[in-house]
């Protein structure tokens, strides 16, 4: 089982919610964009990661799950860029 978070860097607009809600795995760079350490989520972190993914205003935080744990509600896909 490997649950990990990753960031869609195009969708991300540096709101920084993810670093607030999942500080165990995410820090912010000098410009406010998340640095994800790529480590596997352990225990309660899965729940925190789901919350962080849902809280992201641009749906840029993605939770990859391939285990048998509780399914994350898949965040809606970001709207296609029109320009």
């Amino acid at each position: 089982m490997s649950d990990r978070v990753r960031v869609n860097p195009i969708a991300c607009e540096a709101h920084g919610m993810c670093a607030e809600l999942l500080p165990e795995r995410i820090t912010l760079d000098p410009w406010g964009y998340p640095i994800v350490d790529g480590e596997r989520l352990a225990g309660a972190q899965v729940e925190h990661a789901m919350r962080a993914a849902r809280a992201c205003p641009t749906f840029a935080l993605l939770l990859d799950r391939d285990g048998n744990g509780p399914r994350a509600r898949r965040p809606p896909q970001p709207a296609r860029r029109s320009q």
Partner: protein, 454 residues
């Protein structure tokens, strides 16, 4: 590969001994103008026919992919991705594929793909058509940079020539002209643009060969890669591997520029020496400070390595370098490597699509730091800190390529950087800049009409 080659065995053997050496792609190339279809066929023979329906056609297509795998043909756009892997992914997809011949060549120091379309368009078209037949695609789009007018004209003329000659209607051949900025030729940007969006990279996966243009599996390959495919389909994997090295078989097109008598595009054997390439170009016109291999996402090599430099991945990897898309840019000893690197870094920052924060802000900060170092106002260790913040954090490879170039410069010219950081500008800093940096604003609008010239 007997099943895909129409010529009898004896003439194939004769072919093989005649074509064992170079030129391969450049056979019969004229000083001016493009080879016609008839001239192309006279030199290379007709392309094997893979098209058609039914099991036998499918077997022939599978055999060509096997042959490409045995040949070990790697992508020549810079990433060196195995062509057979991509072809198999598109061939086994349930949806019908599309083939893109990528000759956009956003790399300012590379001219090989436009040269192919200007001078030998039918070789790249053969490759595109054969790839399409092998993966079951019904459409081939030749993508050329909007500034490469002669290449576009060469491709357009060659496509029309094929239509007149009564070539098969499938796959359909089109030409698309693409904006000139650096990342426009990146595969996902190309797919984005042809689908009506801006020529900017998208978030992957899915990769284009999984789901690309019009949601169909899309085989995006560099024009040179497909030109090699056209010859492998005729002569086979064993022939392809007769030259080159175990890891990099065959020949390569290399754009050589800098202080040599005859800069230009040369066909070399992988594993040949830099000295032989420079010799073929008439020798250098001055002493060298170093060489940039692989273009502006590539690596600097210091002058002390140049005499013994061998152009193969086996030899270059330990030096942290690769040929990339076949770029060899020599720097004269009148140039300042620190000032040149700062200028290239600023240019690369300007070529960011500004979609990903770490690339937009990080490349700008890196360029600023290099400018500070060049005038003696920053320590070199600041570059390492910023580089670590930028690498692998973009949707495409642009920030990684820029970081690679900058770190390799600090490594190859360590003494120069340390001296500038301590003492400020050197005498060479203000001399004429050597590296070409064309003005190419990033085109963000999606209003291009990629099919307009089909």
């Amino acid at each position: 590969m007997s099943s895909a080659t129409s010529a009898p065995a004896e003439s194939r053997a004769a072919d093989r001994s005649a074509q064992a050496r170079l030129p391969r792609l450049f056979a019969g190339i004229a000083a001016e103008g493009a080879l016609t279809l008839a001239e192309h066929v006279a030199i290379h023979g007709p392309a094997p026919q893979l098209g058609g329906r039914g099991r036998r056609a499918k077997d022939r297509a599978g055999l060509l992919i096997d042959e490409v795998q045995r040949a070990g043909l790697l992508g020549r756009g810079g990433a060196a991705f195995p062509l057979a892997t991509k072809m198999r992914a598109v061939a086994t997809s349930r949806r019908r594929g599309i083939v893109l011949v990528n000759a956009t060549e956003g790399e300012p120091a590379s001219l090989k793909d436009r040269t192919l379309l200007e001078a030998l368009p039918h070789l790249a078209l053969d490759g595109g058509v054969l790839a399409a037949e092998a993966v079951g695609a019904d459409e081939v789009i030749v993508c050329v940079c909007e500034t490469a007018q002669e290449a576009a004209a060469g491709a357009e003329h060659a496509i029309a020539e094929r239509a007149r000659s009564g070539a098969a209607r499938s796959p359909k051949l089109h030409l698309a002209t693409v904006p000139s900025h650096y990342v426009a030729g990146q595969e996902s940007a190309l797919v984005n643009f042809l689908g009506g969006g801006p020529a900017l990279p998208t978030f992957t996966p899915p990769l284009p060969f999984e789901q690309g243009l019009r949601r169909r599996p899309t085989l995006v390959n560099n024009a040179e890669t497909l030109a090699h495919l056209a010859l492998i389909a005729r002569h086979g994997a064993a022939w392809f591997r007769e030259i080159g090295t175990p890891a990099q078989a065959g020949s390569a097109l290399v754009t050589l520029s800098g202080p040599v008598r005859h800069p230009g595009v040369y066909e070399i054997e992988h594993g040949s020496s830099l000295a032989s390439l420079v010799h073929a170009a008439g020798g250098t016109t001055t002493h060298l400070r170093g060489a940039l291999l692989g273009g502006y996402a590539g690596s600097w090599i210091g002058a002390q390595h140049l005499d013994s430099l061998v152009l193969s991945s086996e030899h270059l990897a330990p030096l942290g370098a690769s040929l990339g898309a076949g770029v060899v840019l020599l720097l004269s000893d009148q140039a300042c490597p620190v000032a040149e690197t700062a200028r290239v870094a600023r240019w690369l920052s300007g070529q960011s699509a500004r979609q990903c924060g770490p690339c937009e802000h990080g490349l700008d900060a890196l360029a600023g730091t290099l400018e500070d170092i060049a005038r003696g106002a920053a320590p070199t260790r600041e570059v390492d800190r910023l580089a670590a913040l930028v690498a692998r954090r973009g949707a495409c490879g642009h920030p990684d390529g820029a970081v690679n170039l900058i770190l390799s410069a600090l490594d190859a010219f360590a003494a120069d950087f340390a001296e500038h950081a301590r003492l400020g500008p050197c005498d060479s800093c203000s001399t004429r800049a050597e590296l070409p940096l064309p003005h190419r604003p990033v085109n963000r609008n999606g209003s291009g009409r990629p099919g307009a010239r089909a």
